[in-house]
């Protein structure tokens, strides 16, 4: 993707994080943005972020070259219940760049594959050219993970699925009492996905979503990322759905 870059940073010392957490990245003289960690949580020697150029700071980050220096503070925020979900089936539903904060989950699950039941990854992108981590998706297909990729639009030479990602859910074998679902993507896509999961019988306490709000301080002080009674930076970005459901569909929030 032209406006998306994956950045591998070398930290001065070991950097540990949990899947779902984010860092504040500071481009000196320009500003700071919250970007989720998209690398392997088991690898403490690298800090990996996938960034889309949407504003001045993120655009500058996507133009970074080898040996450039960036300020990093973090990791912050809540995390996906990956360790807590051992023994369950896992359904990961990602839309667009929402695959980035879920990639650490996939790494962690694959590293401990025997501790999980069925694992399904459903990924929706705008078009074939916008598919993230294409090579890895291909590689994961060969492992014991059910990977389905779909795009919203494609030309006739695209051999994969065309359609929206929530529409894939009726085809995934789901045992609702033993499934944990982790969902990340644009809010409309998450809303549709949560509906589709609930139609399959997955209860709200087994659905986790990652919220996105404008973050400034990242430590629960400034209030920029307030979401109902919660601060996305401190109480999120990963929320158990039943805890935020009352606020999820309030338009003003």
């Amino acid at each position: 993707m032209a406006d998306v870059a994956t950045l591998e940073l070398t930290p001065p010392s070991a950097f540990a994080f949990l899947a779902g957490q984010f860092n504040m990245l500071y481009v000196f003289g320009l500003g700071e943005v919250a970007i989720s960690l998209s690398g392997d949580p088991a690898d403490e020697s690298r800090v990996v972020h996938t960034v889309r150029a949407v504003g001045a700071v993120s655009r500058a980050i996507t133009r970074f070259r080898r040996n450039d220096v960036i300020g990093v503070r973090g990791p912050y925020g809540s995390y996906w219940p990956v360790a807590e979900s051992e023994g369950s089936d896992i359904v990961i539903v990602a839309g667009g760049l929402g695959l980035a904060p879920l990639r650490p989950v996939i790494y962690r699950v694959l590293a401990h594959r025997e501790h999980y039941g069925r694992v399904a990854v459903l990924y929706g992108a705008r078009g074939p050219a916008e598919i993230l981590y294409r090579r890895e998706l291909e590689a994961w297909r060969r492992l014991d993970v059910d990977i389905t990729v779909t795009v919203d639009h494609a030309a006739a030479d695209w051999c994969g699925n065309v359609g929206v990602v929530p529409a894939l859910l009726p085809r995934v074998p789901v045992d609702p009492d033993h499934t944990v679902a982790m969902v990340c993507g644009p809010e409309i896509m998450m809303r549709f996905t949560v509906d589709a999961l609930r139609q399959r019988g997955v209860t709200m306490d087994r659905i986790f979503v990652s919220m996105e709000r404008n973050m400034k301080c990242a430590i629960g002080l400034c209030g920029h990322c307030q979401f109902g009674p919660a601060f996305v930076c401190r109480d999120g970005p990963v929320f158990r759905y039943d805890r935020i459901a009352p606020f999820f569909s309030i338009r003003e929030i």
Partner: protein, 154 residues
Amino acid sequence: MQGLERIVLGQPFFVGLGPEFGAAISGCARNVRFAAGEYLFREDEPANEFYLIRHGTVALELHSPGQQPIVVATLREGDILDGSWLVPPYCWTFDARAFELVRVLGVDARCLREKCEADHDLGYELMKRFAGAMGERLRATRLQVADVYGQRRS
């Protein structure tokens, strides 16, 4: 129960349908096979048959002169193709291409329409199923049109 009737009642789309309705539908039905690349139908052709996919993947395409067709959806086992056969002018509104070997249950549209007119219970049962399937598809299409992946940052 005849083989075709069993196939009809075994389709997810017909789940819960009474055996008398199964017999009525299968009376108009046949098994059809399409090779990879073959078109099940093309836009504006008469929708003479209602298709239900039993095996394989079908790409729904919109064509545009001088350009590659745009695939708007892929349908697979258990999906119905469209409701164009049900409402006038009974014409397909897109192209449907078999992506691989495709086996479908084909139901003669005129035969089924006549049975639905004669037996409104059957007609209502089918209409409820079509309304549900079309509603799902409309909802998915709305999400598709919303183009939600344009603004996301990670």
